[in-house]
């Protein structure tokens, strides 16, 4: 089953290219080991000349980034984007969600739908869509939301898993919080699940784990690609009866997003280290899983600075939970994906412990395990945890708080009204997200 990726805006197109790069080289490595060519079929198709082309549609309102991504891909020699799989205009969305959603989206709807349709026709069976975008700008966020809506309308039975990159807290775009609030509120109604990466967290991974001195956006994007690849590459799932899953997105959504109010997913990967150190390190499943579990419950996104003092609260703890109460991260559901050597001997009981889950979902429902004996991206053993938990609660709350502060003074609102978004629309979005925040805050063990 094939997945069609829709890359939107500068971030979506830059991260997307790194993702395909990782998946291609990993699939080729895997192919050499397992003598199977199925590893790439999910995300690539083969042209008549035997070249690999990504199952992707590239969309941006200005041409520079798409041109850059396409030429970089082609230069790699291992894969490329389809010649005609892209759509760009001359002028960007100006960091304005309203411009993206109300003007550019509808204006170019037909062209974009045509590109998506052509890509879908290349798929034997469509597993679903992964729109990739940032929430801070105008095109990724605004056009991305509109395109997600179109995908929902035209392919009602396909799964839509949005991948979002959240910006640095201290700003890349001044109106980023407005754009983020509008995007998230709308996507919550449209998306099956929303997978989030935060620039701040990934930046710390680059500096503290990968020891990169001068971190560039390429470094950031490569970490995101590595983590996403760990989720999306083929794996054996409980439903797949001994073969690689043919319904990865459906199974992921089924495992994690069982309730419409809880759709925010975060990703953690272990181990992550500078590639020069990998050869000199040995990994054991018990150690990796112990760290990963503690990362989950203490809400640390990497294996440095883990707070080992955090434990699940005793069963008799108080019923009311507030945002700041304790540092224990309650999960709704977790999906653990293990890849590499001795994967069948890995002991994952710690993740099935009911103490770390909310009370109204039994741990057998809450915890899912996927495995693949094929090592991923040069790591002999690696574990990826996709988590529907309170991990994103604080960043989401910060985002809404800052947006609300700005909204209270009506700053920049005239820029949105100009393109068709009213104060009412803003208020609706704020209301939706306060509801999401409240739901996640109320998650209790």
């Amino acid at each position: 089953m094939s997945v069609v990726t829709v890359q939107l805006g500068q971030c979506g197109n830059q991260v997307g290219r790194e993702l395909f790069d990782v998946m291609c080289s990993d699939a080729q490595d895997a192919g050499r080991k397992t003598h199977s060519t199925a590893g790439w079929e999910r995300f690539f198709r083969q042209t008549t000349q035997g070249d690999l082309e990504a199952r992707a549609v590239l969309i941006d309102m200005e041409p520079k980034v798409i041109n850059h991504s396409m030429s970089r891909a082609a230069k790699s020699g291992r894969w490329r984007y389809g010649e005609t799989s892209h759509f760009s205009q001359k002028q960007g969305s100006g960091n304005n969600w309203a411009n993206g959603y109300c003007v550019h989206g509808p204006r170019h709807r037909d062209a974009v739908e045509e590109l998506v349709r052509r890509e879908v026709e290349h798929c034997d069976m469509l597993a679903g869509f992964i729109p990739m975008m940032s929430v801070a700008g105008g095109t990724g966020s605004g056009v991305g939301t509109f395109v997600t809506q179109c995908l929902r309308d035209i392919y009602p039975s396909a799964f839509v898993l949005n991948h979002l990159t959240w910006p640095y807290g201290t700003g890349e775009v001044i109106v980023q919080n407005y754009n983020s609030v509008l995007t998230l509120a709308h996507l919550y109604q449209l998306s099956d699940a929303i997978l989030v990466h935060e620039n701040d967290i990934v930046h710390r991974i680059c500096s503290q784990l990968l020891k990169i001195k001068q971190i560039s956006f390429s470094d950031i994007n490569r970490v995101i690609a590595h983590q996403l690849g760990g989720v999306l590459q083929p794996a054996l799932t409980p439903d797949s009866c001994g073969a690689n899953s043919r319904n990865p997105l459906g199974e992921l959504v089924g495992a994690l997003a069982c309730h419409p109010e809880y759709k925010l997913l975060s990703v953690s990967t272990i181990p992550q280290m500078a590639s020069s150190s990998i050869a000199f390190s040995t990994f054991s499943w018990p150690a990796l899983l112990k760290h990963l579990r503690q990362m989950l419950i203490s809400n640390t996104k990497m294996e440095e600075g883990i707070d080992w003092q955090v434990h699940p609260p005793p069963a008799s703890a108080g019923r009311t939970r507030t945002l700041t109460a304790g540092s224990f991260n309650t999960s709704l559901a977790n999906l653990l994906i293990l890849r590499g050597k001795d994967v069948y001997s890995a002991e994952t009981g710690g993740f099935g412990d009911s103490a770390i889950y909310t009370s109204w979902l039994p741990p057998e429902e809450a915890f899912s395990l996927w495995k693949s004996p094929v090592p991923f991206n040069k790591y002999e053993k690696s574990a990826t945890l996709v988590s529907n938990s309170q991990a994103l609660l604080r960043p989401l709350d910060d985002m809404v708080r800052k947006a609300w502060n700005m909204f209270a003074s009506r700053a920049y609102i005239h820029q949105y009204v100009k393109f068709g978004i009213s104060e009412e629309d803003f208020l609706d979005s704020f209301t939706s997200l306060e509801q999401v925040i409240s739901s996640y805050t109320q998650l209790q063990c």
Partner: protein, 474 residues
């Protein structure tokens, strides 16, 4: 890729504009090694093959034939424009892009705005329309003029309102040169205040530049080059300090000052022309830096303004560049943004600078910069990978900051000193269409603007609590 059109009005506007085109050509020559007419060049230049029949316009991708600037040059006396047409840039301008008259505006805003404004309305609109038609996707008009004179200030602001009428969805960014207190034009306060009202109402963004600041900066640079310590060598041929290496062999006075302003324009458009890991388009500038429609005065500061040839501590120099951008010596108006209130700030970086350098410096400088309560972390950042000629990196900071208030208040002072005595008023009132009410309206517009900044300043000391959040019914 989008195109921008530069409209230069009056003596000052045309002199600055001329420096801009010179530097733009040099920058593109430096970057564009293969002589192909690429997207970046097309943002400011047309490629014309005179052998072709219809208008001769060539598409992107071919070899460069003859580059024509996307510019409109307007002046009501011929001296400056004729000088340009006889100088080394004569090939770059089309005679159809020029609008001149002979007698000048006599430093009278009313003559520029009303008399010439009406007389030349048709031809101005036609010229603008033709220039716009040559553009595939016109994104922005850059208007350059001074505030103190008659043509730049009067006719320039008339052009501004014509641009709003005829091309309402194209961004209008005005680079306005404000006169210093010792300006030799006595009526410059009148002209400036009358023009200010137009800028407040019709421009999307204004980049105010004060002559005095430019003079100070140029003096500082020449001090560096003369009183330099041994081992410090100033790079002589970079775009900032001189026209050296460019087309004109001799430097005219004001050239150094105009170079700075020309660099400002080059850097603002760099991310729209060249690629980078975090692009910043021109329409993003207004979107991020203008929280309320009238408060669109953005204080520019440029670093580095000079370079030292011995660079052996790369990271320290980079951080120094960021610190300099916020020091009052580098602002292009006489203001100290660090002691006023920031509404928003944009950092446009060029060269080999990565996001971690940007983040590190923002975190470092942030605590010392007062931001308005509802935009505590409001930074707009852009990374362009192509550095300017002669530097390895550069930074342009645009700040929407209440430090413009003193400049405007001083302007109002100078205006009222004359207006109280009705000095020179008759020169204006004699002009057909000019009335005293225009003066009083302009003054109240300026008053209202100063007041808006004042209100914001007042919030600076106050600790405003967060507004209560929406509460959800359980």
């Amino acid at each position: 890729m989008t195109q921008s059109v530069v409209v230069q009005v009056g003596q000052c506007g045309n002199q600055v504009g001329c420096r801009f085109w010179d530097l733009a050509l040099r920058e593109h020559a430096h970057v564009n090694k293969r002589g192909l007419y690429d997207e970046a060049l097309s943002s400011f230049f047309r490629n014309v093959d005179s052998r072709k029949s219809y208008s001769g316009a060539c598409c992107v991708g071919g070899r460069i034939q003859r580059l024509k600037a996307r510019a409109v040059l307007i002046d009501m006396e011929e001296g400056v424009v004729n000088g340009i047409l006889q100088g080394p840039l004569r090939e770059v301008f089309d005679s159809t892009q020029l609008l001149t008259d002979v007698s000048g505006s006599g430093n009278n805003w009313a003559v520029g705005h009303l008399t010439y404004g009406s007389a030349y309305r048709e031809s101005i609109v036609n010229t603008l329309r033709k220039t716009a038609e040559h553009c595939d996707c016109l994104q922005c008009f850059f208007l350059i003029h001074s505030m103190g004179g008659g043509t730049g200030s009067g006719l320039g602001t008339r052009v501004l309102s014509l641009l709003e009428e005829e091309f309402s969805d194209v961004c209008r960014i005005v680079t306005a040169m404000y006169p210093s207190a010792e300006d030799d034009v006595i009526t410059s306060p009148y002209n400036s205040v009358l023009a200010m009202r137009e800028l407040t109402e019709h421009a999307d963004c204004v980049l105010p530049v004060e002559n005095q600041s430019l003079v100070d900066i140029v003096n500082k640079i020449s001090l560096m080059s003369h009183g330099a310590k041994p081992g410090c060598v100033l790079k002589k041929d970079c775009t900032v300090t001189s026209g050296h290496g460019s087309l004109s062999p001799t430097e005219k006075p004001f050239d150094a000052m105009n170079n700075i302003v020309a660099n400002l324009l080059l850097n603002i458009t760099s991310s729209a022309r060249f690629e980078g890991s975090l692009n910043m388009d021109l329409n993003e500038i207004a979107m991020n830096l203008v929280p309320f429609p009238r408060l669109h005065y953005l204080v520019p500061s440029l670093t580095p303004l000079y370079t030292l040839a011995d660079v052996n501590i790369p990271t320290r120099r980079l951080d120094q560049m960021f610190s300099d951008a916020f020091s009052k010596d580098h602002q292009l108006i006489r203001a100290d943004p660090k002691h006023s209130l920031y509404l928003a700030c944009a950092l446009m970086v060029r060269g080999n600078v990565q996001v971690s350098d940007l983040r590190r410096n923002i975190e470092r400088l942030r605590p010392s910069l007062p931001f308005v309560s509802w935009n505590q972390e409001g930074w707009k950042t852009g990374l362009c990978s192509v550095p300017p000629v002669g530097h390895s990196h550069s930074l342009l900071a645009l700040a929407n900051n209440t430090c413009v208030k003193p400049t405007f208040m001083e302007l109002r002072e100078r205006f009222t000193k004359l207006y109280r005595k009705k000095a020179h008023l008759h020169h204006y009132l004699h002009v057909d269409g000019m009335e005293q009410s225009i003066f009083s309206e302009a003054l109240s517009s300026l008053d209202a603007l100063i007041d808006e900044y004042h209100q914001l300043d007042a919030t600076k000391a106050r600790l405003t609590p967060d507004p209560p959040r929406l509460s959800i019914a359980r």
